[in-house]
Subunit: 398 residues, 4 copies
């Protein structure tokens, strides 16, 4: 829980970090959308601002004047409730509002928010809403980083850019984590003395018991060197290692290596924020899909952990030992509701529940995750073919 006296300060710190991520961008980089999954950086900056305006300022500040009616339309991600406009368009086709306009929007809303936060005694509900807004913005900070990487990594010039992320740091040496058979409690639980608990998302609430078999999780993530052995042994050519859907994905997209890898004259290179670099053999493999993670595990005769095995390992071992945080780690758990999960009313309620279908859970955090944003109970989720996030592989070894 954020100390109340510093809330404005904390608000600014988060807000400025979004802009810091974009510091190295050219105006043009803010605008494009190479694939549907990736949003233009401009859109992330506008959308997070729209959240503050729509959910905090408009309902709570008397006589609040919205910055511009069009911005509400353009930066709304909840299209289902809108639909009154004549024109539909894709985010990546919208040259207007301009980048400068978006920054003006941010400045205006930040000014209003700071005035509001400085002068208001927040109710617990409003306080919770502001925490949600900050965490929402942090989620978009990670997407900003991954989307910028996608945009520049698919530009034929493969430009480098200053970005506050150490993509390819090697991992500390971890220790295998042994889980004993038995009943464990999973899901978010308030720490002692915190009645309401610290911030967490609705999808990790619903603390409940699960029964786990005896298991050992690897202390380290799979490295590029290890993954290269899979490639070199023909892993992408042999259907036996692949889920049926995964094999169809490999064939129809002619997948041959992780995203951003390019083979030039027999050598493997990867696009990074520093441009094209030789693949670093010691770094944990990155930008693999769930299909690839699963196929790698089968090739090794092993498997991916479930999300609860991962959580128990993370909670019951020191972070030092378990060594998580460099890559979002694919689990073999589908993203489904915990017992008692209820979708909140209203637009905020669309947050997590409606995506509980067809996606797999990732646990941990990545080099692109804002500091303090994740925790052992955090549930990230993507479809099995997605790999533009900083995703990696941890195996169950026994």
């Amino acid at each position: 829980m954020i100390a109340e006296q510093t809330l404005t300060e904390h608000y600014y710190r988060v807000r400025l970090h979004s802009e810091a991520i974009c510091r190295g961008l050219e105006t043009e980089d803010y605008v494009v959308q190479p694939v549907a999954d990736v949003s233009p950086p401009k859109w992330h900056l506008g959308h997070t601002t729209w959240f503050w305006e729509t959910f905090v300022l408009v309902p709570n500040v008397p006589n609040y004047r919205i910055f511009h009616e069009d911005f509400s339309f353009v930066f709304n991600s909840y299209y289902e409730t809108v639909g009154k406009r004549v024109l539909r368009t894709d985010r990546g086709n919208m040259s207007r509002p301009t980048v400068a306009g978006v920054y003006a929007y941010r400045a205006y809303v930040d000014e209003q928010m700071s005035r509001y936060l400085d002068t208001t005694e927040l109710s617990p509900d409003l306080y919770a809403l502001i925490e949600l807004g900050l965490n929402h913005e942090q989620q978009h900070q990670e997407l900003l980083i991954t989307d910028i990487k996608y945009i520049l990594g698919h530009n034929p010039l493969l430009p480098s850019i200053a970005m506050p992320v150490h993509e390819h740091q090697a991992q500390r040496s971890g220790q295998p984590i042994l889980i004993d058979e038995g009943v464990y409690t999973v899901g978010y639980q308030a720490p002692d003395g915190h009645k309401a608990g610290l911030f967490h998302f609705d999808n990790e609430e619903g603390s409940h018991k699960v029964y786990l078999n005896k298991t050992t999780l690897a202390g380290n993530l799979v490295t590029n060197e290890e993954y290269l052995a899979f490639i070199n042994s023909g892993g992408y050519q042999n259907f036996r290692y692949w889920l049926s859907d995964g094999w169809a994905w490999v064939k129809s997209n002619t997948i041959q290596a992780p995203l951003y890898w390019h083979q030039v004259d027999g050598e493997w290179w990867q696009y990074t924020f520093d441009g094209l670099k030789p693949v670093d053999l010691e770094a944990p493999v990155c930008h693999v899909s769930h299909y690839e993670a699963d196929a790698y595990a089968r090739w090794k005769g092993q498997r991916l952990p479930t999300e609860f095995e991962w959580e128990v390992a993370a909670v019951h071992s020191g972070a030092q030992q378990f060594n998580w945080g460099l890559r979002w780690e694919w689990t073999n758990s589908a993203y489904l509701p915990y017992p008692g999960f209820i979708t909140a009313e209203g637009a905020v309620g669309e947050y997590n529940g409606k995506f509980m279908s067809g996606q797999m859970v990732l646990r941990g955090a990545s080099v692109a995750t804002p500091e303090g944003h994740s925790r052992p109970t955090y549930r990230n989720f993507f479809q099995s073919d997605k790999r533009w996030q900083f995703t990696g592989i941890r195996l169950v070894t026994q």
Copy 2:
């Protein structure tokens, strides 16, 4: 376990049932494939026969002469390992082999199988393989029924046909099933005195413990009358009830009712094997997707059971009371491996494991399931948008 002395008899009973299902078909009905999910009846009859020839006769009968080389190619569903032929084609484009040719293939293989079974002392492995073949054929019997319904139900003449299935029997009155909180064992377990156990699929093996919260499952399936209330209240028009993917499916396919329902002059009719009939209000709703089942549950403020809640309810209550078997019941569990699941080697190993991605589990059985084929631990699975099977809805009421 089938009494050994009657194995040939049992083989014939299963084989003849496949043909009995097709008795009312015209030759033309055997050939078409309106959508990729549906296979031509001819293909089912050939493919099940190919199984016996390829996995039993060829490896075990000395000097066995295969019926026809082309049939091996055409009726093989394991395309990954074949691929030697010049020409690719879809099942629904293949007028040859003819229906008469397929029946001749069946007769030839049955003759060979019966001679083999009558004269051979089966090893436990071969016995298990034959049980697998019989269960494989039973699975295709259910698909034959659902595929024939799809083919005729999408013909503008909406023809009726004699079919050994009571599609719309009303359910007996069931009782809510209360599950206490605690640890339960799920998955297939051999009954006392059966060391190897009775037949079951690899995906239900791996008996293991799960922890369940206190839950009550409805004693009855949702009826057409109840489902109609959802339709009439605008359920298909309100995105709030739908998973995100489900809503996209509703919109892009303009879904407005279960499959086979047609609104004529304000009244709802449904296609049945007896032709177009008024929707029977008391019968359990049928041919709904997981998306629809989930949306219905949300609209009621309730939810679908997990596959383990279902299994525990089925095992710990009498079948009488729980009243399952009319519809495959959508659960809210993704189809994933049990602890310790290992994919078997070879082509038979492709059976279940490679589909453990992107599908939801259904439990129970339907009016189209062959007698004795299902059991409380049986795991059926389909993608969330599929609804040509006889699928229904059971709610968790508390």
Copy 3:
């Protein structure tokens, strides 16, 4: 013009020829539709019958009882005016009506037509309508042949079938045709003494003058041997020979040879009604698209004729000399209306005019064209990528 006394006889001759084409088919062959361009043979037999019932019998025979209401719906190709039914379906998904049902439909309508023709003094309009119906049926006879070839030629068993067509007869030795510069009259003209003229389609009416430059047309069609030289010189790999759309077609469909050609162990084979046969080097190349015909011509440094060059050559030389009739010959003329072309009122008016967009004209006739059906002014037309008709190439050599 058909001698009036023999009209019934002529009607029967045409009708029976449709059935003769299908004599070698299995019931299953009548039903499938591998691609949208190809109709199931059953549909052709029903549709041509529907024409007689709808346009001749229903409006002219008092108290005529239609054979079956459903058949009118199923065999109608003019879907725009119908649309009242609940259910849409594709021709290739319809197992019903059965083949036997379609033959019964034909027998019923033929019986009614023969009674009508025998007992009625036909007005000139009705006489013209019947001629149109006979020519319509002849067009479908050619489609029956090409569609059957496609269905069997895309079956992995590559079955042979008895078919009254000499696919690969070699051409007689022809002579180059020289056209002098000047004004020529093209389009259908009634022969002397025929005031109304003989039968012809609306699209060839509108006799008019064109100005042609001096030109020489080849006396022979391009042979398989000549076309093979194009293949072997890398013609399908070099974009310089191809129209932009043609090159996109080659790439996205990985086209490497004419339709039905298969390379087996370095040798070229082609599917024929007699099964897979080595490519006959002397026969005229067949089953090429307009794109391929155009690319071949460019590779030779030559070009395709316009439809008017072709017509003038055909009219002003003996058929012997010009040697047409084995292949429909792609011209480089777009299918557009002649001066004064007017679309007739009503459903019959949909016949030709609405297709005058995006298609190229073919002139001549093929081995699959019914005897007497074509003439030098006849305009056939298909999109540039189509090649399941018996299409070939004639060059302008100067």
Copy 4:
């Protein structure tokens, strides 16, 4: 022919006009590509510059240093000959090179070009190449205007922008043009005293004779008011007026009016460079496809002219009388080669010939066409469904 002493001047005038068109753009507007037909303005500015560098400077200026190797790759439209790069991408995904980079590229090439033109005695071939380059740039100037309109007209903010184009000027009153039956010469002919002729494209060369019937062309283009009558009479709902492909286009795209028209509260508005404005009833209708032009003509019981009727009318009447230049006028001629057309060798040869398939000819010019760029023999061409150019309708009235 441009007076030789002013060639540098003329070069600069054309080059600066490209930049003048973009003067009102925001940086973001240069980058996006809402549909494949539309290129980002940045690309047009780079591509035209690449033409000068690649075809004039590199082969002719000793020791010329290209501006940047990547630009050659990115701004090359002749992708067939390149393909050496690892990465494929779409124009609209490329944020780099930046707009500033493209302007620097232009400045560098212009500087080099001016030095070259000032110091070199041009051979006739080089002179012709420079004229081609200038006309090429003018074609892209018109595309710049139409693409900018598309980009802004599909932005939900519908922004206005300063643009040197009078989109909606009313037409002067024209006179019907009567063409007598007979032989006419069409295609480009050098004026007396010009042996080589003035600049013209390869596709209008090959002056030749055609025979025309007696015809009258309308003196005026169809107005918005006239077109509105077609809309209001249900023109978009009645398949009888439409070509088969046109009707499929209407249905699958739910077309209901010309591009940029929006119906708001029963009134028709259209997007213009001045933002959303009421439809001006007197202005000629704009942004219609060939399908719409053809359907309108049929609805009127009339037809579109052929390209030769149009050319003869334009040549044999005063421009005053015939009144062309406001809209590109759809003809009913397919875009095909003139007699004797030969595709030039090399990359410049790809200019026009390879597009002679599947497109219709438009004649005249539009408000967006650079002054002096068009002429009565000019052949513009687009597919029948395209309508983002300033296209309009002239009818043949008799």
